[in-house]
């Protein structure tokens, strides 16, 4: 079955499902116009379900810029059994298996819940290439994961995936993941991806958090070897393991009922360069619901010759009659400007309106960057939704 036929089938299913009126078809259309690229964008979204067991979802778009051809972001048909023990989906979607990187495919995926809290899931399909008319070659990807659920939301699992391009091995990875809720206050998450094509660790991430009434602390660690993240067919995979590492701690403190203060203190290492990685943020909600809020952030980032210091503030003020005013300012100062300007300011001011059915917004964006000494753009958006929400 060709991709086009599959999409027609899913579009038909969307209509059939919607007519069942168990859950009416929900539609949304958005038009975005900007003086910067993409100059124009029209997005159409639809989803509907039948008895909660069969559902479909689609997002298609078309753009007016030279490099923006019409395309499909999501077009998927989902089904699951009444008890939720088996589920499947087919079409275009983002497939993700445990510790392995997510990949957008045209294909199918399924999940089966087995006794003893075991889960089996898998997918197979063709990796998506941008452009509906782009010529497809004999590329495919397939993978599977076996996991055991632990508690309310945790699990531990092992995943395997293999991708081939023109029949040649493009990637082969093994992943191990774990997520645990240790009581009501402590969480742990970890993942490891191992490159089997060019043996070596591709990626490791670890996060552990503790929550109290007003404070959440988190420790994190990440390791990434870029050479193992490239397709095995690339010449640049033969250069060995030079990892980029990052470690640190984040504290999120509810200093007052409407004020959150977040401190992120860490360090990163790339090859022989080590540098601090620090950010301090505060967010103040101006009402109980947080409809209006202001935030400020100071940041020290980068490594080696690519370090920079930045400040950012943003505000959103809710106005009467469903209007809202928003503004965002950022100032970046690179340590080594390389003759591309000592300060890179960026600012945006927007006026939005949302009455639940219609949405509209107009904004002015201004910046000075290494690319443009001065730049001003105007952005406009108009959206509408149909169906119950």
């Amino acid at each position: 079955m060709t991709a086009a036929r599959l999409y027609r089938l899913i579009a038909f299913a969307l209509i059939v499902v919607a007519r069942a009126e168990a859950s009416p078809l929900q539609l949304r259309a958005d038009a975005l116009a900007t003086t910067a690229s993409p100059a124009g964008l029209l997005t159409l979204e639809a989803d509907g379900s039948l008895d909660g067991r069969l559902s479909a979802e689609a997002v298609v778009w078309m753009g007016s810029a030279d490099d923006s051809r019409p395309d499909v972001l999501v077009m998927v048909l989902r089904a699951h059994t009444a008890d939720g023990r088996a589920s499947a989906r087919a079409g275009r979607f983002v497939a993700s298996l445990g510790a392995l990187r997510p990949v957008q495919i045209d294909g199918a995926a399924g999940r089966l819940r087995l006794p003893l809290q075991l889960d089996v899931e898998g997918f197979a399909g063709v990796p998506v290439l941008p452009g509906l008319t782009t010529a497809r070659t004999w590329n495919w990807i397939a993978g599977g994961r076996l996991a055991r659920r632990i508690g309310d939301g945790g699990s531990i699992g092992v995943a395997y995936t293999q991708q081939r391009e023109d029949g040649r091995l493009a990637s082969e990875e093994l992943g191990v993941d774990a997520g645990l809720a240790l009581g009501r206050r402590d969480d742990l998450g970890a993942k490891l991806a191992y490159d089997l094509a060019n043996p070596g660790i591709a990626e490791v991430a670890l996060t552990a958090s503790h929550r109290s009434k007003t404070l959440r602390t988190e420790l994190y660690l990440s390791y990434r070897a870029a050479s193992h993240l490239l397709p095995a067919t690339s010449l640049f995979t033969v250069l060995g393991d030079v990892p980029a590492e990052r470690a640190g701690a984040i504290a999120t403190w509810r200093a007052a009922p409407r004020l959150d203060v977040i401190a992120d203190v860490g360090a990163r290492r790339v090859d022989r360069d080590v540098a601090p990685d620090v950010a301090l943020r505060a967010r103040l909600r101006l009402d109980d619901r947080g409809a209006s809020a202001v935030t400020g952030e100071l940041r020290r980032d980068g490594v080696g010759d690519d370090m920079w210091t930045g400040a950012r503030c943003a505000a959103r003020i809710s106005l009467p009659r469903s209007f809202a005013l928003a503004t965002e300012l950022e100032l970046v100062r690179p340590d080594d400007d390389r003759g591309r300007g000592t300060l890179w300011p960026w600012a945006l001011a927007a006026l939005g309106w949302d009455d639940g059915t219609w949405q509209a917004a107009l904004a002015v964006e201004a910046s000075a960057s290494p690319e443009d000494r001065r730049r001003v753009d105007v952005l406009g958006q108009l959206g509408r939704r149909w169906g119950a929400r």
Binding site: V94, A197, N198, S227, F236, V270, A363
Partner: protein, 342 residues
């Protein structure tokens, strides 16, 4: 001096108390605990809770004045004797929860506190946490069937209380959390939520499309276009998580920044005959994805010219290098022609 600073600080805090939400001008929550310990049964005030499951069963003034016979104020009692927003939250819960007190009464034998345990601690909200529901409804939890109890979950914007709480730097953390709990993510988020960023056919990122909300989470927020080269070099491989290696050259060519073949973006000393003049080797090991972003495909021949077996560039493999690919496969055969030594 210190005393003056302290006074100014206290005054500033006092002036901002309302904005920070510290002001106690708002009424306290209803004293449920005091009523319970005084021996007032729940259904004495919440009359008809089992008979009219769809109603909010919030007591009216008549229920209060049955005991408090001399009201001290003409306004409705709950104007002052209820936490602000409590009734609105209850209304929202009723709209988005599939729940029937009528079915639960016989199971709990009329013991409301079996589920509403928060009353013992004087909680502001007496709505039981989800874990309380799971004590009996464990099958719904195992099957991740949120719609067993929740209606339009996406619109309620509820976030999990403990595991997977979307706090801190969730943009960085979500990948690690989702690795083990992807099915849990799907219980709230639709396919488009992942595809909005991870989809190769995404036309624009969420922050670009929702530019009127500066609090939309985004990995490419604000002036990312200016910063992207610094961020890419500081975290090699991060771009490859979502983008194909040729993404850089495609964009740079369309903007006329690079890729025209007439100028090199590399500094002096990038390639040379002595070790000190060969910065390109160190940079290539550090971030091979950056090299691939321009030199992948046909551009690889530039490397092969010097680094092929017997070439002047020497062996690019580090010590202990191994691969399961045969020498006849790509990319090995580019430098290892058939018949050459491994």
């Amino acid at each position: 001096m210190k005393r003056r600073a302290l006074v100014i600080g206290c005054l500033a805090l006092g002036a901002c108390a309302g904005v920070l939400g510290l002001s106690r001008s708002t009424p306290p929550s209803f004293p449920h605990r005091a009523h319970a310990t005084a021996g007032v049964t729940c259904t004495r005030c919440h009359t008809g809770v089992e008979a009219t499951p769809a109603a909010l069963h919030i007591p009216d003034d008549a229920a209060c004045t049955a005991c408090h016979t001399k009201p001290h104020d003409a306004r409705p009692c709950l104007t002052c004797h209820a936490a602000p927003g409590a009734i609105a939250q209850l209304t929202e819960a009723r709209e988005h929860l599939v729940f029937d007190h009528k079915q639960h009464g016989p199971v709990t034998r009329g013991d409301c506190m079996r589920c509403h345990v928060g009353i013992a601690e004087g909680d502001d909200q007496l709505r039981p946490p989800m874990a309380t529901c799971f004590r009996c409804h464990d099958k719904a939890r195992d099957a991740r069937q949120c719609d067993t109890c929740h209606k339009n979950l996406e619109d309620t914007r509820l976030l999990p209380q403990s595991h997977l709480a979307h706090d801190g730097d969730w943009m960085r953390e979500h990948g690690t959390r989702a690795a083990a709990s992807g099915d849990l993510c799907q219980s709230c988020h639709q396919e488009r939520f992942c595809a909005d960023c991870h989809g190769k056919t995404a036309p624009a990122l969420p922050a670009q499309r929702r530019f009127a909300n500066p609090f939309t989470a985004s990995v490419h927020r604000a002036g990312f276009t200016s910063r992207h080269s610094l961020e890419a070099r500081s975290e090699p491989g991060a771009c490859t998580t979502c983008h194909a290696p040729d993404r850089c050259i495609a964009c740079h060519m369309s903007r006329g920044i690079a890729g025209d073949g007439r100028r090199s973006p590399h500094p002096a000393g990038w390639v040379g005959l002595s070790v000190s003049d060969n910065e390109h080797g160190r940079q290539a090991r550090r971030d091979p994805a950056a090299c691939a972003s321009c030199h992948d495909g046909a551009g690889q021949s530039l490397c092969v010219g010097c680094h092929k077996v017997g070439g002047v560039g020497g062996n690019p493999h580090p010590a202990g290098w191994s691969s399961k690919l045969p020498l006849t496969a790509m990319p090995c055969r580019m430098c290892h022609p058939i018949g050459s030594r491994p």
